[in-house]
Every structure is written in structure tokens, then in C-alpha cells.
């Protein structure tokens, strides 16, 4: 028994008596006040946490939406930038086509000029060796579209430009084929080399394409470079004009450099 322990008993008794002495009333009330304050602040804290959770949830949702919007805009901008001039046959070529469609859809846009510009871009791609077949097809499509909207006035520089582009296209189309023939009605004539040659604006006075050189006089100025328009031909389409820019039937090509 501890009570019989002469050494420990007095120590334990003194320790116990000293420890059981009651708290001072003032200290006791201070402890109670602190506890009740904690209870009150705990209730406020609970409410505050609940409000903060809701607000935080809403903020997080807003942040997610904003981040998603910004991310989508960034991705769209990146795709647009990468596909702005994506050559034919590339993954993002559709972006370039869409961009060109938008440019053409702008009211008051110079449609002929735009089609020629797009055709020249495709020709440049083909010359750079970027999927030549697809690029040339694009160029062909654009030049055909340009021809539909070229001004009635054949003295317009656009006609000259169109003729130049047609000549280049003819050259490019003929090159891979090693002098192969063009589709019927769209011959790659021997005028192509001259089309690529530099010329002065005065050359366009009669709206006769430079491809007319060496022609037999029966060609139409709107004919493909392979055609041989007559130097004396009128800017108008003659009997086949009608103001619709529809070219008369193309004459047979007289010669082609690729035929040599």
C-alpha cells in the first residue's frame, strides 16, 4: 500500500493536496469566458467557412470558364496563325481556304484581284515544291474563278495579270508531265515562255496577252496561255462577247515549248 510507504506517502499527499487546491474564481471565469468566446467564434467560423466554400466554388467555376474561354481563344488563334497560309494538301489548308472565303465575302472586295492573289499564292507554293499537284489545282480553281469576275474592260491590268498567271500555271502544269498534253480545250500552248517574260505596261494596251506572240490571229485574249490570241483581236470578245466575258472557243495551240 502506498499509504504505508514512509518515503512516498508524504510526497504523494503533499502533491495531491497542492494539486487539488481550487482555481481562483477570477481565473475560472476567465477560462469560461474564453471557452464561450471560442464557441461563439466557432459558430461564426462554421458559417464563414460555409460561405467561403460557396463563394470559392463559384469563383472556381468562374475561373474554369474564363480559363476555358481564354484557352479556346488561344488555340483558335494558334490554329489560325499556323493555317493562315497553309499550302494545299496540308492539315490546316482548310484554315487558309476559310480565310480566303472570308476575304472574298467582305462587301466591296476586289474579287478578281483576290482570286488572282490566291492563285499566285498557290503557284508560289507549287514552285516551292509544296504538294505541287494540289497547289496547281488550287491555282487553276482560283484563276477560273477570277476569269468569271474579271472586268469587262479588257484594258484592265487584271487581265494582263490573269494572262501571266495562266501562262505560269500552264508552265507548271506541263513541267511535271514532261511535255505531256493538257486537257482538251485547255492546251498548254507554246506561248507559256513568253508569258513568263517581263513586259511593260504598254504591252497590255491592246489587252492582248503576251501569249499572243506567235499566234495565228485566231486566239482569244482570255484563252489559256496555250492559246494563241490574235494581235489584232479586239479587246471585246467579238461575236462571242456579249459582255459576259465568256471566251470564244479556243484555237488549237500552235506550239508548246514542252512539245519541243
Amino acid at each position: 500500500m502506498i499509504a504505508d510507504d514512509e518515503l512516498l506517502a508524504p510526497y504523494l499527499a503533499a502533491w495531491r493536496e497542492d494539486s487539488l487546491y481550487p482555481s481562483l474564481p477570477h481565473s475560472r471565469e476567465l477560462a469560461r469566458t474564453a471557452m464561450l468566446a471560442a464557441v461563439a467564434s466557432g459558430r461564426r467560423g462554421l458559417l464563414g467557412r460555409a460561405l467561403w466554400f460557396n463563394a470559392g466554388f463559384r469563383l472556381r467555376g468562374l475561373r474554369v470558364r474564363i480559363a476555358g474561354f481564354v484557352g479556346a481563344v488561344a488555340v483558335a488563334a494558334a490554329v489560325a496563325a499556323m493555317g493562315w497560309n497553309a499550302p494545299a494538301g496540308s492539315f490546316l489548308h482548310g484554315v487558309r481556304v476559310a480565310r480566303q472565303s472570308v476575304q472574298l465575302a467582305v462587301p466591296g472586295a476586289d474579287l478578281a484581284g483576290l482570286h488572282l492573289e490566291f492563285a499566285e499564292q498557290s503557284l508560289a507554293d507549287a514552285r516551292d515544291g509544296i504538294d505541287p499537284a494540289a497547289s496547281l489545282a488550287d491555282a487553276r480553281s482560283e484563276l477560273d474563278a477570277a476569269r468569271e469576275v474579271l472586268p469587262a474592260d479588257h484594258s484592265s491590268p487584271l487581265w494582263t495579270r490573269w494572262g501571266d498567271d495562266e501562262a505560269i500555271l500552264g508552265t507548271e502544269e506541263a513541267a511535271p508531265a514532261g511535255g505531256g498534253g493538257r486537257p482538251a480545250g485547255d492546251p498548254a500552248g507554246g506561248s507559256a515562255p513568253s508569258a513568263a517574260a517581263p513586259h511593260s505596261p504598254s504591252d497590255d494596251e491592246a489587252t492582248v496577252p503576251r501569249t499572243a506572240a506567235g499566234g495565228d490571229g485566231s486566239a482569244d485574249p482570255t484563252e489559256r496561255p496555250g492559246a494563241a490570241p490574235s494581235p489584232s483581236s479586239s479587246p471585246s470578245w467579238g461575236g462571242n462577247d456579249g459582255g459576259d466575258n465568256t471566251p470564244p472557243s479556243a484555237s488549237a495551240p500552235t506550239s508548246s515549248p514542252h512539245d519541243n
Binding site: I2, D5, L7, L8, P10, Y11, L12, A14, W15, R16, E17, D18, S19, L20, Y21, P22, S23, L24, S27, R28, L30, A31, R32, A34, M35, L36, A38, V39, A40, G42, R43, L46
Partner: protein
């Protein structure tokens, strides 16, 4: 339970009241906390004073214990008195350890500023013995100190200590034995 029905009813009513108080405290009801404070303040204060010795330290730790209890009421398993007491003493024990760690090993002080006693000389002698006891306790293991406080200050039975500390009765008995043996070895060498 006593033999007299009135006493049993009183204990039962106290038990129900305590359970309701715990439920109210869980809901953040100040009245529930007030009941817990009234019921267990003396135990917590005695535990802190037995461990720390200094009055101001014991008051601080007691206050910290009840404030901390507000935040950890969700850890209380049920509203039975031994469970609530064990829960509060568990918190108090950790507060004592934190307090001692904060203050570090301080010079032993004997607080004689307690209420006057009939014989100041006897009071001083008792105070010195209590201080020697606490000094000797500081050389024991934490678990042994905890068991000795519960057994010899709070007068808890071996079973109550076992339930309050989550140990078996045998383990508590063994800890008590080793603690007392260590005290016998230390106390004769203690000054005073």
C-alpha cells in the same frame, strides 16, 4: 448505483444531463458547454496543477484545454462521464506537454502565493514536498506521469485509468509500479 432509489435517480439525471449537454455542445450551444465546464473544470485544473505546479501555468493550461475542446468536440465518442473526462484530460495532457515545451526546463519554483493556511510553516513544507514530487516526476516517462496523476491526484481506479488512457488494467498497473519505483529512487536524492 446506490441502494437508495433517490441517489440512483440523481446519478441517472446527472448522466442524462451530461449526455444532453454534450449533444448541445456539439451543436455549438453555449449552455451545453457551460455544463461541461462546471462538471470538469476542477478535474482539468487539478491535472494541470499536478503536472505543472505553478498556479498561473495551471490556469493557462486549463483555459487552453477548454478552448481546444470546443474545436475538437467532434472527436468525442459519446456523452458518458468517464468518456468526457478522459477526452478532456487527454486534451489537457497535450496542453501540459506543449506548455512545458514552450517554457522549456525552467528553474524549479515553489509557488507560495496560495490562500493562507493555519500554519504557514506547514504550508511551506507541503509546498516544498509537492515541488520535489513534481521535480521527481519530470524524470519519469510521460505515460508514467500521466498514470500517477490520474491515480494519486484524481483518485481514479485502475479501471478508470485504463479506460481513460486506452490501455489494459495490467499495463496501467505495471506503469504505476515502475513509476513509483523510480520515484523512490529519485526522491531521497531530491533537495528538501
Amino acid at each position: 448505483m446506490g441502494d437508495e432509489p433517490g441517489e440512483g435517480d440523481h446519478i441517472y439525471q446527472q448522466s442524462v444531463r451530461l449526455t444532453e449537454a454534450v449533444d448541445a455542445a456539439r451543436r455549438g450551444d453555449a449552455r451545453g458547454w457551460d455544463v461541461l465546464f462546471e462538471r470538469f473544470h476542477a478535474d482539468v485544473h487539478a491535472y494541470a496543477l499536478a503536472r505543472l505546479g505553478g498556479w498561473s501555468d495551471a490556469e493557462d493550461v486549463t483555459q487552453e484545454t477548454f478552448v481546444a475542446a470546443v474545436g475538437s468536440i467532434r472527436n468525442l465518442r459519446d456523452g458518458q462521464e468517464p468518456v468526457v473526462q478522459a477526452w478532456l484530460l487527454h486534451i489537457c495532457r497535450h496542453k501540459v506537454i506543449d506548455h512545458a515545451r514552450r517554457k522549456g526546463r525552467q528553474q524549479r519554483t515553489v509557488d507560495l502565493g496560495v490562500a493562507a493556511a493555519p500554519d504557514p510553516a506547514n504550508v511551506a513544507e507541503a509546498k516544498l514536498r509537492a515541488a520535489d514530487m513534481r521535480e521527481a516526476l519530470s524524470h519519469l516517462k510521460e505515460d508514467q506521469r500521466d498514470v500517477l496523476v490520474r491515480r494519486f491526484v484524481l483518485d481514479q481506479s485502475l479501471e478508470e485509468v485504463a479506460a481513460g488512457t486506452g490501455r489494459s488494467v495490467g499495463a496501467v498497473k505495471s506503469m504505476q509500479h515502475r513509476g513509483l519505483t523510480a520515484l523512490r529512487r529519485i526522491l531521497p536524492a531530491a533537495p528538501g
